[in-house]
Subunit: 97 residues, 2 copies
């Protein structure tokens, strides 16, 4: 079952993501990062890989794309905030980038 | 060569798009539309088809996706406004949706 991150779990799960460029979003319990690629094909190719994992895990990003740039925001609507799924998808996005 | 739409060409190219749900964007010479699908797979599948045409025509949308919804904005950066390419890509998006 998906649960909102507790105070005890936030640090261990989120700190490594802050080191890799993720940041908390103002006004929402969410994390965001901008990914830049060398071309639209690379950007959308990455989105396609992420999309398959997102669907597999039934956890989808809010994201926008302009040419070689993808802005991503992750949060878990079911718990109205960050859950372990967000950290898991963020790590996957980093790994695929 | 891509040229900004003239007053004479705007109506014939844009009016049919306004009929299909496209609208002018405030503050930018651009058109926008929200596409809704029945699932993330359908939304992203549509984006993938559009992405291939966008790359083929070297004309890329500004777009964002949240689950089954895709918000699209089209404009032509090279001419700082709408060109025939935007109308062409908009028609393709409608056809593929």
């Amino acid at each position: 079952m998906t649960e909102k991150l507790s105070e005890a779990t936030r640090g261990p799960l989120l700190d490594p993501l802050f080191q890799s460029g993720w940041a908390l979003v103002e006004g929402r319990d969410a994390i965001a990062k901008t990914f830049s690629f060398t071309s639209f094909v690379d950007a959308f190719g990455w989105m396609t890989k992420v999309a398959i994992w997102a669907e597999k895990w039934n956890h989808h990003p809010e994201w926008s794309n302009v040419y070689n740039r993808v802005d991503v925001l992750l949060t878990t609507h079911d718990v109205n905030g960050l859950s372990a799924l967000d950290a898991k998808l963020a790590r996957k996005m980093d790994k695929l980038a």
